[in-house]
Symmetry: C2
Subunit: 285 residues, 2 copies
């Protein structure tokens, strides 16, 4: 069972957002054949409309039998699979694994769930690949992406933010933070980046910030030691809008380790809103 | 100027909450003479009613001249001085320090502001003391304070939470987090513990949690290397109410390094709400 061999399509397991289509288009442009499996409850209407098939919310059985019919060269996870409800994995995997093992997995966090899902695919002989292999051009490059460039103070905040996220790597917590000067305004939890930015905005509105903190930076980076084939931090046009609403000066992501959804539009939005968008040197990995 | 010598009253510089009165009562019961200076904008009506004097929002000039008249044996900071608006320090200190120096301080965080305030008092010859010296009985003891005892899973969350806060010590960020199982649901920013608990409550309501995460723990501890004379993490009856609303199983604080405001009432509330209240072994300090 499973699929071996070097021909066959790229199977895209599609979660939320428009990224699965972006990736499919990119792969098609590069002459690769693709198949899309949409996860209902995660995949958007547009993704479902273009998908070759769809299965219930992370239905592991359905996924595996679709993959076996599809016979892909490799499999990739695209789009959000953590939210809205990673707990939905429970129902899917309970058919496949012992309840005791499941309970042990579920007592742990999102990271462990994703690791379990990957393990299951690989056990069945599928080759899981990430963007680094498939479409590295979708990853954030180093340096300024738009016209704005971060000033020294912002670069200081970026450095502290990257160090903070690195120290948080061993904990099951978000991959983003908002800093102003040396101060950490918010660390992302399961609520996601947009809600965290709303929190930073509320802090500003309620007057929690001091004058030199008018600016501020959103910093995103994957955990150290994370499996880079899944769940890379992503930003897009909406991130720019929410960062601007929170009064930030810009956004920094780990270069080569973060996805920029629709780069042209994201950069245009950053420029229009007066934000810098910066690929910070990847960590020494 | 300043006050030397071993007699004289204990000068209590009173911030927000009822803790300044609790401390004054405790010191009076122990036969110590006290004087209270209330910071307007922070100190409650009850505190201001009993204060010997009050000054504007962290008015450094007024504070120093009051202290010089008062001639205290020692000075202590009691009650919240970080919130509602630590930025108010700006106006107070701008009269005393150069604007360039101020700007440098303000570009840094709350921790640095408090350090600057302490430095100023000590420069003027006042002896600043903390609860460890004045009233160690107000600090959380080790072990369970109420009738409930944390189970193994909760103790696991407490251990992870303490380790998380330790790793965050070098960053200017909150002193509290909420965990469920291995997962970090929220890390406290400038918004404070009550708002962070409201966030954990919202995550639960929106279905972000999995079944084994029904419980959860609020963990509070000071930063490693923090000046323990100021701004120790504090809990009180309201913390218990908000923790229960967030669906948590209990609250853990660093024993000997955290203040329990109104212990009798806090423990009664924890017992009534079915929460454990636990003093976790202080860090190896």
């Amino acid at each position: 069972m499973g699929a071996e061999g070097s021909s066959g399509p790229v199977a895209i397991l599609a979660g939320s957002g428009e990224f699965p289509l972006l990736l499919a288009d990119r792969l098609a442009a590069a002459g690769r054949e693709t198949r899309i499996l949409a996860f209902r409850g995660f995949a958007s209407r547009a993704v479902r409309a273009r998908a070759d098939a769809s299965v219930g919310l992370l239905d592991a059985k359905g996924t595996l039998s679709w993959l076996e019919r599809c016979g892909p060269d490799c499999v990739t996870l695209a789009g959000g699979l953590r939210r809205p409800d990673p707990g939905a994995l429970l129902d899917a995997y309970s058919a496949l694994r012992s309840r005791a093992e499941l309970r042990a997995i579920l007592a742990r966090g999102d990271d462990n769930l994703l690791r379990a899902a990957i393990g299951l695919l690989e056990e069945r002989g599928f080759r899981l690949v990430g963007l680094t292999d498939l479409a590295p051009e979708l990853l954030a490059p180093a340096g300024a992406l738009g016209t704005r460039v971060p000033d020294e103070a912002s670069l200081g905040s970026v450095r502290i933010g990257m160090e903070l996220l690195r120290k948080l790597s061993s904990f099951d917590v978000g991959q983003a933070a908002v800093l102003a000067g040396d101060r950490v305004l918010a660390i992302e939890g399961p609520e996601g980046t947009d809600r965290m930015l709303a929190r930073a905005r509320a802090l500003r509105r309620r007057g929690f910030l001091r004058r030199p903190e008018r600016g501020g930076v959103l910093v995103k980076a994957p955990k150290e030691g994370q499996d880079l084939r899944v769940d890379l931090p992503a930003i897009g046009p909406r991130t720019m809008v929410n960062a601007a609403r929170a009064g930030l000066s810009g956004v920094a992501v780990a270069s080569g380790l973060s996805v920029v959804l629709d780069r042209a539009e994201t950069v245009r939005m950053a420029d229009r809103l007066g934000l810098f968008l910066f690929g910070a040197a990847g960590r020494g990995t």
